[in-house]
């Protein structure tokens, strides 16, 4: 499962080039066609459809009915009414990504360099919690962090909890996001560390760099493709998530864009166009951030 490392297109390791044999083009198309058709019909086409919905207007006097239009008012509504939710989504996702990185790196590093034959066992331990269902685990966190639960009561006893509670606050939401997307941070970092040439790291030590300098100047740069993929695979789903805010957060002060989209779709009559506009705004924001991020930390600067 060294898969994720390639997610952001980062191939740092030595890859073998194919023999330059000319393949028959009909074979290529036969291989490509089914998968691409699936992605076109069930990914590209629905996005186009969602975009047209985001431009629709309501029939005045008929709640729940809209007509085809080119109305950017939904986007204006999305940004003016729900700006705070967008801010929260990006902020919470950013914090969760940072914390996940801090937790994931030592684990990935230990797996790649220290674990020896325990490596596979550790890998299994990271993936296996998926099978308990992340909803069950998030609910478990809610009970663990609850007001009368072990964590909150201990902190309260020590007078270390200013607000008196953890659940229903942004702290719990960020903690939940960090927890749930941690494996998506660990696996790509591990994959890029594992494929890194260990001799280069040893050379750092041979050239009298101390442990920390070797890490900062050699190991960390070599793992950057994995860090890049990991941060993307953590930040993007975290920014769109609504389950953590729903189960761990409160009604008002911790709702994210995902919660708004979900309720506009399912609970508000005629909410489809606004929900579609919110979805596209979220996607545009994320893509813009990702683009800036890749430009800043992308592979050219790492070499």
């Amino acid at each position: 499962m060294s898969a994720f490392a390639h997610a952001a297109g980062g191939n740092a390791a030595v890859t073998h080039q194919d023999p330059p044999a000319r393949r028959r083009s009909w074979a290529t198309w036969l291989l490509l066609l089914p998968g691409f058709l699936w992605l076109l019909v069930f990914f590209v086409f629905p996005l186009v459809q969602l975009f047209t919905v985001s431009l629709q207007s309501k029939y005045p006097g008929y709640p729940g009915y809209y007509y085809r239009d080119v109305n950017f008012g939904n986007y204006v509504d999305a940004l003016t009414q729900f700006g705070a939710h967008f801010g929260r989504s990006l902020l919470f996702a950013g914090l969760a990504t940072l914390f996940a990185f801090l937790l994931a790196y030592p684990l990935a590093y230990a797996m790649a360099f220290k674990a020896g034959r325990w490596r596979n066992v550790m890998m299994i331990c990271i993936i296996a919690p998926f099978f308990t269902s992340f909803i069950l685990r998030t609910v478990a966190w809610r009970q663990i962090l609850a007001d009368d639960g072990p964590v909150a009561s201990t902190l309260n006893f020590l007078h270390l909890l200013p607000g008196g509670r953890i659940t229903e606050t942004w702290v719990a939401v960020v903690a939940g996001l960090t927890y749930n997307f941690l494996p998506f941070m660990v696996l790509p970092i591990y994959a890029s560390l594992e494929r890194a040439d260990h001799r280069i790291i040893e050379a750092g030590g041979d050239l009298y760099a101390n442990g920390f300098t070797t890490f900062r100047k050699v190991t960390l740069p070599m793992s950057m493709p994995g860090v890049l993929a990991g941060t993307l695979l953590t930040f993007i789903p975290a920014a769109g998530d609504y389950v953590n805010a729903d189960l761990l957060g409160s009604d008002r002060s911790t709702k994210m864009v995902g919660n708004v989209i979900e309720s506009q779709f399912f609970k508000v009559l005629g909410g489809f166009p606004l929900a579609a506009a919110l979805s596209f705004t979220l996607m545009a924001l994320i893509l813009a951030l990702v683009f800036v991020y890749i430009r800043r930390f992308g592979t050219e600067e790492l070499l």
Binding site: A3, H16, L39, T132, A140, G240, G258
Partner: protein, 294 residues
């Protein structure tokens, strides 16, 4: 880590054997074990809610399984009757069926794409890679919302109702990209000389593929299938959008959350976790025994 220290030291020290000082060795010992220790702490952190789920599967609760019932002693009754809560086993079976179908189709389609993207030269390759990458870079809620509009507005006229098959379609869609990426990584790390050797030994293209290439790529394909299954089995957000009245296991847990999740869900959740552990451990053992000597 620096196992070749003596040789490299002798170069720069003019023949004197290089030994790291005692202080340096103590330092590196501590450094090494700090990393391992914090890694273990993170693993424990990953397991805390799983352990909680396990413990509360023995809760002898009266109304809802939220707080531990101090009067009732721990009970095995939920383990003896895991289907006791209405709907929980139906939801599990639905999830397993969807996972199986989605994994099968996504693995086949994704593997084909990966072969084409790595082994074939064609125009529009960069765009194709982008098409595979973007679904992974799209928030799940956007995928779910767009599929819902498609199914409600576009496909209902073909008689496709929200339910089992719309979930399957959605899961195949988001699993394909992860399969492609996993199999691609494996294909790119293959040594092409193995296939050249097979051809030098007069193997035709068919037998080269089935006797050399495919067995070498197989671990990647198996890994991809496992990943696809776990993503499908654990998916809630997209499923919630396209499921209609169909209930998968995560949806069952989410819906029953307000009334209190029955302990049977804990039993099933924890059993799936153990099952996954055992399956992967068994797979690793088999793989170690039959490891090809190349």
């Amino acid at each position: 880590m620096s196992t070749i220290a003596p040789q490299s030291g002798s170069r720069s020290h003019g023949g004197a054997a290089y030994r790291p000082s005692t202080w340096r060795r103590v330092q590196s010992w501590i450094a090494g074990h700090v990393v391992m220790f914090s890694a273990l702490l993170v693993l424990v952190y990953l397991f805390i809610p799983v352990a909680y789920t396990f413990v509360f599967s023995f809760n002898n609760y009266r109304k809802s399984n939220i707080v531990w019932n101090p009067q009732g002693s721990p009970t095995l009754k939920h383990w003896k009757d895991p289907c006791g809560a209405p709907g929980v086993c139906d939801a599990l079976v639905t999830s397993l069926e969807i996972g199986a179908i989605a994994t099968l189709v996504a693995t086949i389609l994704g593997t084909m794409l990966a072969f084409a993207l790595v082994r074939h030269q064609f125009r529009g390759k960069a765009a194709s890679n982008l098409l595979v990458f973007i679904p992974m870079a799209t928030p799940e809620i956007v995928l779910g919302a767009s599929l819902l509009t498609l199914f409600v507005q576009g496909f209902s006229r073909f008689g496709l109702r929200l339910g089992f098959w719309t979930i399957v379609i959605a899961h195949i869609m988001f699993c394909i990209s992860f399969v492609v990426v996993t199999v691609k990584a494996r294909l790119q790390s293959l040594d092409p000389r193995l296939e050249e050797a097979a051809q030098d030994l007069y193997a035709g293209p068919g037998s080269t593929f089935w006797k050399v290439t495919f067995p070498l790529v197989l671990p990647g394909i198996v890994g991809a299938a496992l990943l696809a299954f776990s993503l499908s089995f654990d998916d809630f957000i997209i499923t919630n959008f396209v499921s209609g009245n169909e209930t998968t296991f995560p949806k069952f847990v989410y819906v029953s959350y307000l009334r209190g999740i029955p302990a049977q869900a804990n039993v099933i959740g924890f059993s799936m976790f153990v099952l996954a552990l055992l399956l992967v451990i068994a797979g690793t053992l088999v793989n170690n025994i039959r490891k090809p000597k190349v």
